[in-house]
Every structure is written in structure tokens, then in C-alpha cells.
Amino acid sequence: MEELKQYGSKPTRFGFGDGLVILGERHSNVVVLGGDITGSVMTSLFKEKFPERFFSIGIAEQNATTIAVGLALSGKIPFFASYGAFCALRNADQLRISVCYNEANVKIGGGHSGISVGPDGATHQVLEEVAFLRTLPHMTLIVPCDYEEAKKATIAIGEMIGPAYIRFGRSPVPLFTTPEHPFEIGKAQVIRQGNHVALIACGSMVWEAMIAAEKLAEKGIQARVINCPSIKPFDFETITVAARECGAIVTAEEHQVHAGLGGAVAEAVVKNHPVPMEFVGVKDSFGGSGEPEELMIKFGLTWREIYASALIAIQRKDGGSLTATRAIKEVAEYKG
């Protein structure tokens, strides 16, 4: 990919909705369960096209999850979608025991992830579910970066066997991958070459990492950017190679800094090739109301934090003395 090219903006939830329709056309045993927000998580598209394979379960996420297990154990491929707060955490016990312990072929679409949900506020801005889901045995967990990848990932999880979860967002995000761009469960992709620092991101933060890399290049720093949509299974190899070749890593995600993508990368790096790491994400707090752009700035989820963290990580690698304050000052100059 290398250079930054944007083909407009679209929410990742649209990719989920469109992907589901394609799956419905290909496989007659794909069924969808609704949780009363079908328009907003885009399962309404499937409902219109395949009404006989759509079931409205109402506002009952725990029930929907376990009904899906029953359908899966009867040979169907059930998708249940709601907001991540309610279909990853409200139903956590059901996911753990009935879905994963059974290795049931249940697929969950989790919308309204991250703080870019905007005005709805903290209750709806789920920032913790990646941490939980990636600890579940047998679970596959994908966090796509844009519309195209969300569509491909939806089809891919529908066509694999076993429990899977796809995390998508409400607000439009830049569209920068193409239908030809590869996607494979379990694989991270290097989307920009560089050896001074690796920027590893998922979801909406991949685009921000690409911008940060451009800004770093202006300073003569070549950053490798890695899009890591597959949180589980995890691409240990690509990450370990990045640690070895770059010697410094920054992770970025629209999630708590704890135990999400950053945690997964840290586990891989500490075991295989320890290097200095910095983490960009929400720092142990709940979200709040506001416009998505305001909130991304407030909670430190822009290229600026990735850029500053890259400078810090590189200095740590070189045993240098650039403190966080100085890095942030440099970033302030950019903002000005």
C-alpha cells in the first residue's frame, strides 16, 4: 500500500451488513438473529433480503446468544449482532460456556465499539470487550480497519468453523483498502515499510498510524505500519519480525490500553524478542458524550499520540533521553 490514499469514508458496520448479505446468498444455512437495533447494526439488510432466515429475538441479548448456540448445534450458521456492550459483555457467561466451550459455530457482530460512537455516551461506548474476548478459548476475534476489510472479515468468519466475533463501529472512518487487498484470519499485514519503529494498530487507528508514519517520515524516521485485524488467532510471526527488525513498537487501538491489541503484542514481544513498547489507547477511563472527533482528541486517539509515542519508543531503544514531555511538545508544534 505504502502511500496514503483514501477512497472516501464509510462506517465499518456497513461492511458487516453488506458482507452478511453476500454470505446469505452463498450459504442457505446462514441465519440472523436481531436484537431490536437491526437498522443500526445493519442486519436489516439481511432481514429484507432473507426474511425467512431472520428471527427477531427482541431486547434479550443473553437469550439471543444461547438461541444461536441451539441453532448452531443444529447445523445452522447463526449471526447475532447488537452493540458490543450488550453482545460481548452482557452475555459474557453465555459466550464463555455455551458458545466457546461447546465450540459452537456462532458468529457475533459487535457494533458501537470505541468512543467514536459519540453523543450516546459512556454506556454505549464499549472499550473493554477485546480484552475479554481474546481470553476465550476457541474464539476468533477480528477488528477490521475499514469498510472493505469489515466486509471481507464478515464473509471470512462466516465461512470458517467455530465461534467468531467481529468488532465494528458506528461512525464513518476513512476507506483506504480495496477489494483486492488481502485479508486472512490470523494474519497481520505490513502496509508500510520501515525499520526505525513499528506502528501496530487495528480498527480505526490503522489510518491514524498511517498518518503518523507520514509525519515521522518528514523527520527522517521510517516507521513500519502493521494492520493487525486478527487479534485472535494472532500473527506472532509478523509481530516478532517487526520487533527484531524495528527494535521499538507502538500499538494503537480504540479500546482500553489494558489487555487488548497492545496486550497481545506485548505478550508476543516479551516472549520472543523484548523491545521498548508504547501503548496508545484509552487510559483506564470511561468515555462520554460529544462528537466523535472531539472525543478522539480528548481520549488521545489520534495520529499525534502515535507520533509522540513513536518518538519516545525510538529514544528508549537508543537509550536516549527524549522524555514524554519533550515528545508531546514536539507534537504540539505540529498541532499549532
Binding site: D36, I37, G39, G58, R90, P119, S289, G290
Partner: protein, 289 residues
């Protein structure tokens, strides 16, 4: 659109239906102004339940002190259907709990009037965060247990749920607990507008008959017209009697309402569950109200 919120505050004591309707109208106008300013949010439920909130907060049913919102002997209200918060914010502002001008900040950056109630914001009158349907109702049962069984006070706890919200299984777990623990100090209000996001209740997931379910779960159950102040007050009187006479029975009020009530183009239409009016629509709505 430039909106202004008139700084008035109404008293909380028994009134005529006519006086109550003046307050309900003001609350509805505030809701329209808040939502058009916010540019997102829920119109339908808040407009439809304005008469319930008016009766609850301005007809002597709830004990609260606008000068001391946290005073120990207050009654508590929990909005389990957190998305309906515009009506609660407008009600609290009209009760003098905070300046009405603050209503203009609904859903904005750093506001105390979050898109769903956030206890962390410290807005007077918000007893708990809510927004994940079903949870507020259980919290309210816990409060009523504390008041009655542990502190042995005369304090009352009210909680409002939607009707779509009744599809959450935890609602019925909480209902079971309320009668098991004989919480005659607990009043459940169901905003029965027969609408939720995807359509009519019976089409999304049929939870009827609600009245028979409430009775089966041990509630003294009253069905009333949620836009008739006399009927609403009569229903609250049933609760007040249960509480005063320590009958050991929790009360459920099933208020039959219309989503978007008061605004012709929103009335009884589930499309307005989660939409704000645009400017033209807001002007028309304010003219009608």
C-alpha cells in the same frame, strides 16, 4: 436554530389536571428544544412519558429537595430506560434541581447531561447511571431493599422501564425479588407505548400480556391511561396506600401511552424512538405544543 429555555420552576404539591398539563407542556417544549440543539437523541419515549413524569415529580408523589438534592430522606427515582433521559433532565430542571439553561448542553462534549445518564457527572437527581436496558430496574429493587429491610425507613423507590425493555430477562428476575422481599415501598412504572426501535412490541418479541405477568409476579397492578392525570394519580395513590399500610405488595403501574404524544407527526410512530426533530420539524412541534 436559536432556542431559549425559560427559567421557571414548578412546585411539587397536589394540583388540578389543568395545572399539571401546563407543566407537561413545558417539559415537552423543553424536550423538543433540547433535541434539536443536540442534533441526536430520543424524541418518542420522552414526549410520550412527559405526563407520567409530571405527575410523579409535581403532584406530591416524590419527596425531594431542590436545595439539597442528596438529602437523606428523599425518595429515589431510577430511570431504567436510560435512553429516555431527556424527559428526566427536563423534569429535574423544571423542578429547580439545576438551571434550565443547562438543558442546551444535552449530549455535548463534557456535559452533565450525557446521552445516557452518567452518575459520574454529578447531575442533581440522577441516582444511578443507566442505559443498558434492564439494569436500572434491578438497582432500584436493591435500593428499596436497603430502605425497607435494612434502614427501616419510610422512603419510597420508583423505577420506570420501557415496554420493549421488558424483553430483558433480568427484568423478571428483579420483579420476582421485589415481591419475594415484600417491597411495598417499591413502585414500578411501565411506559407502555407499544413501540420499540424495530417496530411494535408484538412484532419484535411479544411480551404481552404485561398486566397478567406483573400480577403473576406478585405486583399490585394498575393499568391506566398514561395521558390522563387523574388516572395516573389514582394509580400512584394505590402505591402510596400499599406503602403506607405496609401491605407487603410492590405496585406496578402500566401506563398506556403514545410514543411522541403531543406532536402530530411523531404520535404513535416507532420511527421516532431514537430521532431528533430537524429545525423545520422542531418549529412545527413547538407550534403544536
Amino acid at each position: 436554530m436559536n432556542v431559549e429555555f425559560e427559567q421557571i420552576s414548578f412546585e411539587n404539591k397536589r394540583k388540578s389536571s389543568k395545572e399539571l398539563s401546563v407543566i407537561a407542556r413545558e417539559i415537552r417544549r423543553d424536550i423538543i428544544k433540547m433535541l434539536v440543539t443536540a442534533g441526536s437523541g430520543h424524541s418518542g419515549g420522552p414526549l410520550g412519558s412527559s405526563d407520567i413524569f409530571t405527575t410523579l415529580y409535581f403532584n406530591g408523589n416524590m419527596s425531594f429537595d431542590k436545595h439539597n438534592p442528596l438529602y437523606e430522606h428523599r425518595d429515589r427515582f431510577v430511570l431504567s430506560a436510560g435512553h429516555m433521559c431527556p424527559v428526566l433532565y427536563a423534569t429535574l430542571a423544571n423542578a429547580g434541581m439545576f438551571p434550565k439553561a443547562e438543558l442546551a448542553t444535552l449530549r455535548k462534549y463534557n456535559t452533565r447531561l450525557q446521552g445516557h445518564p452518567g452518575r459520574d457527572m454529578g447531575l442533581p437527581g440522577i441516582e444511578t447511571s443507566s442505559g443498558s436496558l434492564g439494569q436500572g430496574f434491578s438497582i432500584a429493587v436493591g435500593m428499596a431493599m436497603s430502605d425497607k429491610l435494612l434502614d427501616k425507613t419510610e422512603k419510597k423507590v420508583y423505577s420506570l422501564t420501557g415496554d420493549g425493555e421488558l424483553q430483558e430477562g433480568s427484568i423478571w428476575e428483579a420483579a420476582m425479588s421485589a415481591s419475594h422481599f415484600k417491597l411495598d415501598n417499591f413502585c414500578w412504572i411501565i411506559d407502555n407505548n407499544d413501540c420499540q426501535i424495530d417496530g411494535r412490541i408484538k412484532d419484535v418479541m411479544d411480551v404481552y400480556p404485561i398486566d397478567e405477568k406483573c400480577r403473576a409476579f406478585g405486583f399490585d397492578t394498575v393499568v391506566c391511561d398514561g395521558h390522563n392525570f387523574e388516572e395516573l394519580q389514582a394509580a400512584f395513590d394505590v402505591f402510596l396506600n400499599n406503602q403506607k399500610n405496609k401491605t407487603g405488595r410492590p405496585t406496578a403501574i402500566i401506563a398506556k401511552t403514545f410514543m411522541g404524544h403531543g406532536v402530530s407527526f411523531m404520535e404513535d410512530s416507532y420511527k421516532w424512538h431514537g430521532m431528533p426533530p430537524n429545525e423545520t420539524q422542531a418549529i412545527q412541534a413547538l407550534e403544536e405544543l
